[in-house]
Amino acid sequence: MLTSQLTWLVLTLAGGVLFAAFAPLLRRRAERLAAPLLALLPLAVFVQLLAALPAVQMGETAQARFDWVPALGLSLTFTLDGLGLAMGLLIAGIGALVILYGGAYLHGHPSLGRFYAVVLLFMTAMLGIALSGNALLLFVFWELTSITSFLLIGFEHERPGARAAAWQALLVTGGGGLALMAGFALLAVITGSFEMNVWAARAAEIAVHPLAPAAFLLILGGAATKSAQFPFHFWLPNAMEAPTPVSAYLHSATMVKAGVFLLARLFPVLGGLPLWTPALTTLGLLTLVGASLLALAQTDLKRLLAYTTVSALGMLVFLLGLGTPLALKTAALFLVTHALYKGALFLSAGSVDHGTGTRDIARLGGIGRAMPFTAAAAGLAALSMAGLPPLLGFIAKELVYETTLEAAAPLLLTGLTLVANAATVVVAVWVGWRPFWGRPGDDHLHPHEGTPGLWGPPLLLALLGLALGLFPALTGDGLIAPMTAAIVGQSVKVKLALWHGLTPMLGLSALTLLLGVGLAALRRVVQPRIAAFWRALAPLGPANLYHRFVHGLLSLASWQTAVLQNGYLRVYALVIVLTTAALAGLTIVLKDVTLTLSPWQPPRFYDFILVGVILTAAFLVTRSRSRVATIALLGSIGFSIAVIFLLYSAPDLAMVQFAIETLTVILFVLVLYKLPKFSRLSSTPTRIADVFFALTGGLLMTLIMLLVSRHASDASAAAYYAANSLSQANGRNIVNVILVDFRGLDTLGEITVLAIAAIGVFSLIRLGGKPGRKQRAVPKGGRTK
């Protein structure tokens, strides 16, 4: 039952990709209908996932498998369990809202169709990650999300800032993707499979394998770049160049969670490694505390939200690192909570930007009366972010404190978490309260509420956070328990409640709020100091290192291009000749020490004459300064070779050579007077050096030919053609039969080359620049632009 549901889901997704391709067309044809129609795809996925929820709650999992490249261990294995299902619900649900919101937010934008198409493609890839059971398949989807993220960050590609941010995100996450691939490959070396359930089943074997730490660190590199962990966090705030619906969807609710998701997915495989807890908790705490303090220096709504997203991702990695059932349960709840409130806040920030034209919190204030629905959405979401009852965020925060108090170093961990949570409260006030109800800011903003498409989706997300918080038992049993069960690998009980009595956690919550609200009120005092502190630290920051690295790489690239691609054909030719000579010469010396040449047989007298003609003509051609003489000399070489062919049993070659030689001479004569006169351009030392290089090359070729002809050539091909020429191809001329029959396709290729050359000649003559209209390659007094 569940398996067939999964199969249907996969088919829906495959259809969705095709559907997405038509989005630009649909948008052109039906501007108003496009968003609701396109939102049907994520909605269909969402409904399908909901329908599968009861079975998953009962502890069922499903697997659907289609072979793709069996030789590489690559199969389309899709798994549906609690973790993938919850991720899928978030991806599809928020995806539908983002499509609707995007239609309103980018209304009238010329590239809105492209936006729809790429967002739907991203959604499919992201669902692919959530449902993949095969690591290679997951990797394919993983890279696809990086690419779609690149396209969406650079959506407004006319702006240099957007292009640079898109590149940065792609380079950082793409580099991490390579590490991830290497980590997967190492696990496949250990277990002989790319199937993740095979890995989980053999976790004990992996844990003791010497390659396991390397595999873990590589996979962690992939997850840390994707989920913006220190020191790779800097790409995420820059990714705010993307349109706001993209920031809400990719860069807070779903894509950046892929790294966390992967770590959760591989917890049964790698969670037993001794490195797991120290590495993840350190990384997570650094990111959590660092990013939440960085957030305090921001004045842009989106950047405030971006840095708190980084800190939330740090929290998730930290919780996964602790690895206790309580910590994993908390991580699962926090993931869902964060996606809901952060998605709502981003979408509200976009509406504020849309309604006022600014995202600067210093200029915003008192716009709540003009934008009531946006204010309600942002307010509700901010309450969840700050962790107030009865919202989901409150339950999550209580659980976080419960986890840290139970952990190994409760004082340190709780203290650090408290700092980060207080900073989160500050940001929640700045983002969800101040712009709407604070002291009126700039008078020239003229705030106005947008269409329902602009406030409906954030309000819905915020209300969902409220609803899930109001029914904690339902949320815990229905969603969080299956998620945790999938991470741990066995069923767990999850009891969520709003009221636990007077516990230390409640005290910590109150303290957090007090600290946060106090700090938030002192924005004008606090913010400049924190900003100054970070500015002073910036030269040491990873963002600066990244810039230096990229700059160095580009400088190196342009330096080596200037050296290798210097524009002098002569140098290119020389490099090729000398490389060939060196490689071939070295091979001869190393492999063929004896150097036995083929035996000397006394030639016949006309051999001497023909070769004599060739040698003389070849020598004279290099000295000739007359165009007519050169053509005549070339012709005499060609005709001598034709006679050699004739004498040594190749009448066909002789005929073709005669014909072609005649044609070539005619061709040369036709264009002769259009050609420049021969001029001596090189200096004498250059010419002497070239003579040396040329003689080296020639000598080497002679040597090779004598070495080759010493061996009796393999006549089996000749014998085959001779035996089958008449019986199979009805031809008595074996050479002709080879060309037109046995190797007929090669001849077809040859004819195609000739046809292309003919088209090239024709178009050069007819369509190219008119000859005679002389133009200096380098105009006097300056270089070409």
Binding site: A543, Q565, A618, L653, P676, D690, G697, V735, I738, E750
Partner: protein
């Protein structure tokens, strides 16, 4: 004859390489022609040279006589001759157009038609990004 042909091909290679290394476009064209002669001789010399025994099946028999020249190099050369004619024809016309358009056949003067001659600015976009930590 194997020795003589090897020497002839070697000299043709040397002459061809020498001409390829010149700065004048016309001479490079001559070099191309010389190199294709040399390659054809190299291929021809890779099988034993047998006088007056073409790979033909006489009338009334179903196989060639006991001794015959290897047809495989011949088939290769036949293709090579035709292709090199195509290349030569294209190169000649291309050169004529280049000379007509640019007014020079000195390759060094054409350098700026191939690579950007002014300094390329790098990483100019990087600087336009805000500097976060």
């Amino acid at each position: 004859m194997t020795w003589l042909l090897a020497i002839a091909a070697g000299v043709l290679f040397a002459a061809g390489i020498y001409m390829i290394l010149r700065r004048s476009l016309v001479k490079i064209l001559v070099g191309l022609a010389l190199l294709s002669y040399a390659v054809n001789l190299l291929l021809f010399n890779s099988a034993p040279l047998i006088p007056a025994r073409p790979p033909l099946i006489p009338l009334g028999s179903s196989a060639p006589p006991e001794v015959y020249a290897d047809p495989v190099p011949q088939a290769l050369i036949l293709t090579a001759i035709v292709i090199s004619f195509g290349v030569t024809a294209f190169a000649v016309v291309l050169m004529r157009q280049v000379y007509g358009t640019l007014g020079t056949d000195d390759l060094n003067e054409m350098r700026c038609t191939d690579i950007p001659c002014k300094e390329v600015e790098i990483a100019s976009e990087e600087e336009q990004m805000e500097e976060p930590l």
